[in-house]
Symmetry: C2
Subunit: 456 residues, 2 copies
C-alpha cells in the first residue's frame, strides 16, 4: 500500500482541480519514485494528462501495478475493483464515497469480497488517498508540499485529515506517512499501526479516531507497537454530546470515554486533548533519543521564562536536578557573576550564542542530566537565529544523546529561530509550557516502553 513501484489512478481527469486530476499532478509534482498510470474510460479522447499516457483500463497497462487509487462514482467502483483483481493489482485505495457512511454497507461488503478473492488489500472507501515520504508518493488530493519527516498520521476523518495536512506544513512538521482510513471496510488503524511500527522512516505515530471497530485487535496491536514506537491518539467524541456528534458524522460508536482512557493507559498509548497538543507531542517524540536518566535541567537567558518552565515541570512530573557543586562550577564558567548555576541555569539576558553553546555542552555531556529544556527570552542585544544555530551545533556535537526541547519567547525573530530549529529536527515551541508538556510526553512514552519491555 505504501511502497508501490507503480500506481494507477482510476478516474484520472484532465480537468484541473478535480480529485482525479489533483491526485495525478500531486504524484507527479511531488516526484513519485515509481510509475504513474492515469486510467480513464475516455482514454481515446484524453490521450494524456500532465504528459502521462492515459489508459482506458488497468488491464491495458503493459506493466505491473502495485497500487490502484480509485476515484470514480460509487456505482462503477465494484467493476473497477474486479478489473484490478484480474490485472493482479496488490492494493487498492478507494477514494469514492457513497458506501457504508451513507448506509450502503452491502456494496461496501462486495468490494471487500472481490478484493479478498484476488488477495488484494483494500483501504477505504471514503478516503483522501495516501502519502508516503519514503518513495515521495503524494497520492492524495490534499496540499502538494507536505514536508517529509518522521511522523506518521492516520486519520479517520477525511476532511480533517486534509485540513491537517495543511496544518503540518504551516507548523513545519515533517511527515513520513499520511493515510485516511475512511470506512475501514478492510484495512483499519491497527493494520496501519502494525506496518508503521516496522517502517524505518517513521519514528512516531499519530492517530485521529472517532471510534474503534475491533477494540481487542487495536489493544493487541498497540501493545506490540508501543515498545517500538510512540503512539499518540486524538479521540474525538470523548464527551456525551461529542459521542452523539461522532455517531452522526462517521457512524462511529464512541463507547465510554473512561473505558477508552483506561485501555489506552494499559497499552501505553498517549492521549492528547486536541490536535495542537498531539502535534506538539509527536514533534518531540519523533526526534528524541531514549531517555537514560530522569532528572532534567533548564538553561535560560531569562528568569521569568525559567520560572514558568519550572512550574510546568513540576505539574507535568518532570523531575529537575539540583546541580551538585561540581556541576554548578562548570555552568558558572559561562555566565556573569549575577547569573545562577542552579536549576534553572540562568545565563542572564546578555547571554550570547557562545555562552549558550558552552553551557549546553556541559548539560549534554554530564550523564547525571537526563534531558535539557532550553529557553530564550528575546532581548535587544542578541540574535535568536544565531543562538538557535549554536544550540543545534552543541546538540549535534553531543551526538543528540538525550532528549531536548526548546522555546523561544518573543516576536518574529524568535519565530524564525524556532522554524530554523524545527527544520533542523529540534523540537521548538512558542511557550515554555508547551515545550515542557511535549517533553513530558517523551517521558511518558519512555516509561511505558520500559514497563512493557520489563513485562516480556
Amino acid at each position: 500500500m505504501l511502497r508501490p513501484k507503480s500506481v494507477a489512478v482510476i478516474g484520472a481527469s484532465e480537468v484541473k482541480n478535480k480529485i482525479g486530476n489533483v491526485i495525478v499532478t500531486n504524484l507527479k509534482d511531488y516526484g513519485f519514485k515509481g510509475k504513474i498510470y492515469p486510467i480513464n474510460k475516455k482514454a481515446d479522447e484524453i490521450k494524456e494528462i500532465d504528459g502521462l499516457k492515459v489508459y482506458a483500463s488497468v488491464k491495458d497497462v503493459p506493466d505491473d501495478i502495485d497500487l490502484a487509487i480509485i476515484s470514480i462514482p460509487a456505482p462503477a467502483v465494484l467493476e473497477a475493483v474486479e478489473e484490478c483483481g484480474e490485472k493482479g493489482v496488490k492494493a487498492i485505495d478507494v477514494i469514492s464515497s457513497g458506501f457504508g457512511e451513507v448506509g450502503n454497507k452491502e456494496e461496501e461488503e462486495k468490494l471487500v469480497q472481490v478484493a479478498k478473492k484476488y488477495g488484494m488489500r483494500l483501504l477505504g472507501p471514503n478516503t483522501f488517498g495516501v502519502y508516503y515520504a519514503g518513495n515521495s508518493m503524494n497520492a492524495t488530493f490534499g496540499p502538494k508540499d507536505v514536508i517529509p519527516g518522521k511522523v506518521a498520521f492516520i486519520s479517520q476523518s477525511g476532511a480533517l485529515g486534509i485540513a491537517l495536512m495543511g496544518w503540518t506544513i504551516l507548523q513545519q512538521i515533517g511527515m513520513s506517512a499520511i493515510v485516511s482510513t475512511g470506512n475501514k471496510a478492510e484495512i483499519d488503524d491497527a493494520d496501519l499501526m502494525e506496518w508503521l511500527a516496522e517502517d524505518q522512516n517513521t519514528n512516531a505515530i499519530l492517530l485521529y479516531i472517532e471510534g474503534v471497530k475491533d477494540g481487542q485487535k487495536f489493544m493487541k496491536v498497540a501493545r506490540s507497537v508501543v515498545p517500538k514506537k510512540p503512539v499518540v491518539v486524538i479521540k474525538a467524541g470523548r464527551s456525551q454530546r461529542g459521542a452523539q456528534a461522532a455517531a452522526s458524522h462517521t457512524g462511529s460508536l464512541a463507547g465510554s470515554d473512561s473505558v477508552f482512557d483506561a485501555a489506552m493507559k494499559q497499552v501505553g498509548v498517549l492521549r492528547a486533548s486536541d490536535f495542537g497538543e498531539a502535534f506538539d507531542w509527536v514533534k518531540a517524540l519523533s526526534q528524541s533519543p531514549t531517555l537514560k536518566t530522569q532528572e532534567s535541567i533548564i538553561v535560560t537567558n531569562g528568569g521569568g521564562v525559567g520560572v514558568l518552565a519550572t512550574d510546568a515541570c513540576e505539574f507535568n512530573h518532570i523531575p529537575l536536578i539540583v546541580p551538585p557543586e561540581d556541576m554548578k562550577q562548570e555552568f558558572m564558567k559561562y555566565m556573569p557573576s549575577f547569573g545562577s548555576p542552579k536549576n534553572p541555569v540562568d545565563l542572564t539576558g546578555g547571554a550570547n550564542e557562545k555562552q549558550y553553546y558552552d553551557a549546553l555542552g556541559v548539560a549534554f555531556n554530564d550523564e547525571r542530566i537526563g534531558s535539557v529544556i532550553v529557553l530564550y527570552c528575546q532581548t535587544a542585544v542578541t540574535d535568536p537565529v544565531i543562538i538557535a544555530k549554536q544550540i543545534a551545533r552543541a546538540y549535534e556535537e553531543s551526538g543528540r544523546n538525550k532528549p531536548m526541547v526548546t522555546s523561544f519567547v518573543g516576536g518574529k525573530e524568535c519565530d524564525d529561530a524556532m522554524k530554523w530549529l524545527t527544520r533542523a529536527g529540534i523540537p521548538s515551541y512558542s511557550t515554555p509550557e508547551q515545550a515542557v508538556k511535549a517533553l513530558a510526553a517523551v517521558y511518558a512514552w519512555n516509561g511505558y516502553k520500559e514497563k512493557l519491555e520489563a513485562r516480556k
Copy 2:
C-alpha cells in the same frame, strides 16, 4: 503616567540601540501625540537626537513636563528625581536597575521619599518603560510596531514583558497599554489595575506576576475591577520549585499556590496556566459583548472539527443548545440535504461564504442562542479568506450582539483568514479547543460579574 502631554527622556542618547536612544526614537516613530524632550547632561555637545532639541536638565525645558522616563546609571537617579520634583513633573518611570532587585533597598526608598515630597507618582525602578495606545505613546525600549487595541498588559518581569511585546505583534493582538511594574517601589499592579478599569481604551487586563506585595490591597482592587473589566493573571512560581526560582529571580515571595488560587476565584480573577492561554483568553475577553443567555451553538463545515469542539464545550462547561424544530428548519435552508441542523450545525464540506453568512444570520438573530462557535475545516473547493469576510459581515450586521469565537483548521490560507479575522476584532484560533477555552473564559468572567454585581 499613561496620558502625558509631554515626556522627558532623562538619559536620552544619540547612540543607536542604546536604551536612551531607543525610547526617544520609539516615541517619535510611533507618533506620540505630545511633546518629547530628550535630556542629556552633554546637551551642549549632542544638540539634537532624531531632530529633537536636547536639554541638559528637565529644569531647562521651557514647557511643563507630565512624565519623565529615567534611564541613567543608578547612582545618578536620585538627583534626577529631585530635579523632576523641582520642575513640577507629575509622574516618573525609572527604567534604571541596580536598586531593590540587587539588595539596594535603601536607595530605592530614597527615590520614593523624594517622589512623595513633590507629590509625584513613581513607577519602577527596573522597568522597560510604558506603552499606551490612547495617545500613541511607545515610551519603551521594546519593539516599535505594537498593534493598538483593547488589551492592557502589566508585567512584573521586564525581560519577559519585552519579549511578550514582540509576541503580541506576532499573534496580532491589539494592545491598549503595556507597563512593567519592576520593583514596585511605589506604583504596583493594583494601582495600575484600578486606573485601567476606568480607561475607555482598555477592555481586558492581563497581569504577569511572580508575587504580590500587598495581598489585601490586590484583593480589594480586583474585587472592584472585575465587575467592570475581565482580569486574567499568569502567576509564575506556582510550584514549589518554581516559587524558589521566582524568589531568586525578582525576590518575590510566591506564597502558597492554593491560597492564591482560592483568593483569585473569590474576586473573580481568571487564572491562565501559561501566557499562550492567557493571550488566547484576552483576545476573546477584550472583544466579546455581554453574554445574555448561556446556550451556545457550533456552526461548521466539517464533522471532525465539530466533534472536537463539542467535546471541548462539555469539558469546559459551555452548554450546547438542542435546536428546537423551528430553529432546525431555519438552518436547513442553508445546507444540502445531507447536512445536519442539529448542534453542531454541519453545513458540510461544500459550504460556501453565502451559506456561512445565512446560517450565521440565523444564529445571531435567534435570542435563544447565547454564543456562537464558528469552525471552518479547509477544503479544496472554498476559500477561507472569502468565508472569513462573510462571517465578519454577518457578525457586524447583527450588531455584534453575542460572543463569537472562530477556528479555521488548515494551512496557510486558513492562517491568512484567521489573521484577517483577528484584525477585524473577531477572536480566531488555530484549534477548535483553543477557541472553546477562550469562550469559556468569557463565560467565566460573565459569571463572576453577575455574581459580584448581585452581591452589591
